[in-house]
Symmetry: C2
Subunit: 270 residues, 2 copies
Amino acid sequence: MSTKKVEFISSRENECIKRVKKLHDKKYREEFKSFIIEGLKLVKEAIDYQIKCVNILIFSQQAKEKYQEFYNECKYLLQDGKIKRVIEVPDKLFEYITTTSTPQGILAECNFIDTDINFIKNLKRVVVVNKLQDPGNLGTLIRCADAFGFDAVITTKGTVDIYNPKAIRATMGSLFHLLIVREVEEGELIKILKDNSFIVYVATPYGDIEVSKIVPDKRFCVVIGNESEGVSDSFTKVATRKIKIPMVGKAESLNAAVASSIVLYELRKR
Amino acid sequence: MSTKKVEFISSRENECIKRVKKLHDKKYREEFKSFIIEGLKLVKEAIDYQIKCVNILIFSQQAKEKYQEFYNECKYLLQDGKIKRVIEVPDKLFEYITTTSTPQGILAECNFIDTDINFIKNLKRVVVVNKLQDPGNLGTLIRCADAFGFDAVITTKGTVDIYNPKAIRATMGSLFHLLIVREVEEGELIKILKDNSFIVYVATPYGDIEVSKIVPDKRFCVVIGNESEGVSDSFTKVATRKIKIPMVGKAESLNAAVASSIVLYELRKR
């Protein structure tokens, strides 16, 4: 039992507040190798699944009252040395550091949780995200990958940052449930997939087989591409199968998040 | 051949400009029984599929240059009496009436296209949307219903307005491809479904059968509920089957648009 206590901070000039504010920007996330999560659900998921990544936990005064039970839990975790710092701030100061327009008053700074690409050796079911641009779409995809039993989500260089606050929010905590590998160079990734005998499914409107006809191999990855341009040629070239979603109406295409979710659903663990 | 010409309007005080601006609000949409669509894709879909609903077509000066070919087509449609009015406005004035932050400079006022609930007699595959709140989710759902061969989308009272500009945008034109019935009272809808021998599938996380196990009847509807509260009791009570999506990971739920898309995909026309 340590004697660590909840700190009270009320100034924007405090180093910790300045640090959290900077984490809105990717540049500083890369520098500090940390990111922000917000809201009761996400912070609980971080604590439950990857508590070691949690650095600083911040409550607004309102949230301290409203989520008293959780606040007390966090105090114990602080005393046990499981969380490094717990900080209380005035509501106004919380509004200054929040990344959302409707803050719950709970925020944590977490260390990066992505792992090395070489972990892929131990995996069987992998989603590769290739240049997706919308953070909401990326987060939704991670949530789906979790729901449908995938082991990991790997993004290639040129994909929106997994640690973007909007992406994080859309994961609803699922980023703490599976392995994340981040911004791998396409050529390197293709070599590693090949070296580890991964079957490569590429999702594309120009696919030659309907996704429902696929019986997934024991070890495979599925590549999801950019919202308007789809998957890079380098992946299309090495694809084992190019898969598509059957469409019968007059719609020319599906929403990107919807299309990729249907693909992950069909390739789910059964 | 009429002698109708493209009009040039430059004042915010013009009746037509005032009318379009008012259509941002549901109140005035109900009063005028018309709504706004924006962008080349949507306006083209309206012209191709339901030209009779198109009242006023507005181009910004920039868009007139950029989409010259389409602009000329519209001039011919005006001369043929197929479109009532085509108007050109300065870019600044277009910015005043647009509903988006990144306008393409093409906008149309269209008459309501929803039809009477009694048309249901002729339909076989219907989506019922029950109190969904997010306009983007509703639009995405209409796009999916189109892609997967449904005949109609019916919303119940308490559902977000189908003519909300964000909903319209997310449909990507699909609202012109199928029948729309709008804001029907739940009790009335249930009676009509029953009178017309519809099988009722209700999508819910508490379903007793996986959606992939369903072989859809010849005539059915599927009810999609509110993002957080799901489907109303009144529908759950009359459900022929309560269907769910299998999930194997640690995610507690799926994004609402994703979940309903997967349900429509599984119940698609084959």
